[in-house]
Structure formats: C-alpha cells, structure tokens
C-alpha cells in the first residue's frame, strides 16, 4: 500500500486506518438512530420518511466508506501475511 500520509506503515497504523472508517460509519449509524427516534424532519410527516431520506442522501457516504473499509482490511491482511 502506497500513501504519503505516513512515512512507514505499521500494524498499528493500518489498524487505526481501519478503525477510523468504522468510527465514521458508527457515527452515521448513530445519526440514523436519532432520525428514527426524534421528530419528523421539516417537510416530513413520519420518521420513516427520515430513514428513507437518510439512506438516499447517505448513499455516496456509504459507498465510499465501504470501499475504503474493504481496502483497509486488505492492507491489514497483506501486512499480517507479509509479517508471518
């Protein structure tokens, strides 16, 4: 894996790369949870509409995060394989 962000990748930095993607995904899931329990948004009459809206608007975010997590998991697996 090539990146200019870190001079030398270690197992710890690769694990942190993976977990930072998970953290952002968890935050989005918490927001979705909030959208379910809180009031309907302006222009909405039910919280189900909040969920549909959240899924549609969150699509670019979800695609990019999931792509990233797959790559980060592969980097970590390759590092572990190279080490053993």
């Amino acid at each position: 894996m090539q990146s200019r962000l870190n001079e030398r990748e270690t197992g710890e930095s690769l694990r942190a790369r993976f977990s930072i993607g998970i953290t952002l995904l968890v935050f989005w899931l918490i927001l979705m949870g909030m959208a379910v329990v809180t009031f309907p948004f302006v222009q909405h009459s039910t919280t189900n509409q909040n969920v549909v809206y959240g899924l549609i608007t969150g699509l670019p975010f979800l695609v990019l995060v999931l792509l990233y997590l797959v790559r980060a998991a592969r980097d970590l697996a390759a590092f572990r394989k190279g080490k053993s």
Partner: protein, 306 residues
Amino acid sequence: MWVGSHLRIESWMAEILFYGFFILVLWQGRKVLGRERTSLFLWGSLLWTLTVENLMVLNGAYDYFAYADYYCAGGSLIGGFSGWACMVLFVPLSISLGWFIFSLPAFIIADRLLPRSNIWLKATVAAVMLVSLDLLMDPISVVNEWWRWTVPGYYLRGVSIGNYIGWFFMLFFFAAIYERTVIERGSFAWLRPLEKIFFRRSTSDLKKESNQGVGRIFYFRTVAFIPVMVITTILVATIPKQIGYNRYAPFHNVFPKKYDQLFPASAKPAGLGAVVLADDDPRRVKGPRCGTTPVGTPQSPAGEGR
C-alpha cells in the same frame, strides 16, 4: 425530553457525542498521520471553522442561541447556558471539533481511495463524503433546535442549501491546503509573492523546512484561503437563490435589529414561509425547562407565520 412518541435530542447530548468521538478520532488520527501532522490538522481546522462560522453568525446566516438561557437546574435558570458547554464567541467549540471528527477521516479515506490522484480530486471526494453525512445531520439539528437557520434562501428539510455548498467548499479548500503544505510540502503559486513578503524567504519548496516552519506557513495559508472559500461559497450559493427561494427572513436571529432592517417582515413575498419551525410547531423549543421566560431570547416579529 419526550414530546409525544418523539425524543427531543438536546444540544448538550449532541455535545457529549461530539466530545467522545473527538477523543476517539484524535487518538486514531495520531496513529495514522503521526502526532505533529494530526495536531496541525486539528489546530488548522479550529482556526478555519471558528473563523468562518463566527463570520456566518455575524452575517445572520444562522445562530447557536449564544444569547439565550434555555436550561434550568434545581428550578432556577442557568445563566449564560444556551445548551452548549463552551462557546468561542458565537459558536460552540464542539461544533468545530465536530467538523474535525468528520473531516480528518474523510481526508484519510479520500487519500486511500485515490492514492495517486491530484489534491483537488481527492479534496472533492472528501468534500462529497462530508456533505453526504451532513445531509442527515443538519435536518436532525434543525428539528431539535441545536441551531437555527435565519437566512432567506432555498431550504431543503429545514436547512438552507447554502449550508451544503459551504460544507463542500470548507473541506475542499482545507484538504487541498493541508495536503499541499503538510504532506507534499509544496506551495500555491498565487500565494508565493505574499508569503515572500511575510516570511522573507521563498516558500515554494518546504522539504527542508522544519516542522514548526511548515506549521506557521500552513496556518498562514489557512487564513489566506478563508476569503477564497467564503467568496466561492457565496458565488455558488447565489445560483439556487436566483432559481428561487422558499424561505424568508428575519426570524430569531442573534442580531435581529440589523437583520430586521435588511429583510423587513413587511417585505416578505406572498407564499414564502418566514420561519423553519413556527411558534406553534410541537418541535419548537418553548424556552427553559423550568417554565420561566428565557432571558434575552428574541421574540418572533408580529404576524410572522409559516
């Protein structure tokens, strides 16, 4: 806390969430980027967001109830507590830290997805990701009154479209400045003459520059790009305004007097909503929890409706 079957998520709850995630992202960021680079990202993003957000509040785009006492403890009003633990002028500190929580991972993710691309393409991907996340967060904040939009314009789910344009350019420019300065150790051609005067040396190649020197140049560029970011946002945000807007000001602003003069309620075009949440809306916060009138809370202009 419960209004019917719906939970009102208070701003202090969101603040606890922001602070918790801030510690987590800072810890993870330090492992990915290293201590110095993460610190630069953090201080740079605080400088960037606090300046831009305060400018926007002062301009009447939105407000965080900096003037209001909304909460009670033991039956009496908590003076100066608007629902945010720490304000930097008119903006809660946790809002700026919240921006750091999203922007640092978005920057790292864009870099991993496009490792060999130029900085502007990476900045675009990071910014798209951030806007996609904010499209969910901002409508939640509006119905829970963590902040209020107080600008005329085109609104989507209670949020001005200008907000999303602003969020896009905030990270677009910041990510580019950070990558070009801290990671590539390069420069921006248009800033070179200014930097030569300011730093009294050439700043086109920072590879031999100390970390402290890079930091100073990075903060300088962050400040220099603020007008660029603000003007770009205003210009792009004018497009949806020209197409048509569906909400009119003024309402509940930090500086209602100045804003009333700019946008008098009497001049409101027919058919446009004045406020996002009208006074009789059940989602609207009805002052402090102990039942007394909040100190310093501006009242709606007479005759204002939805």
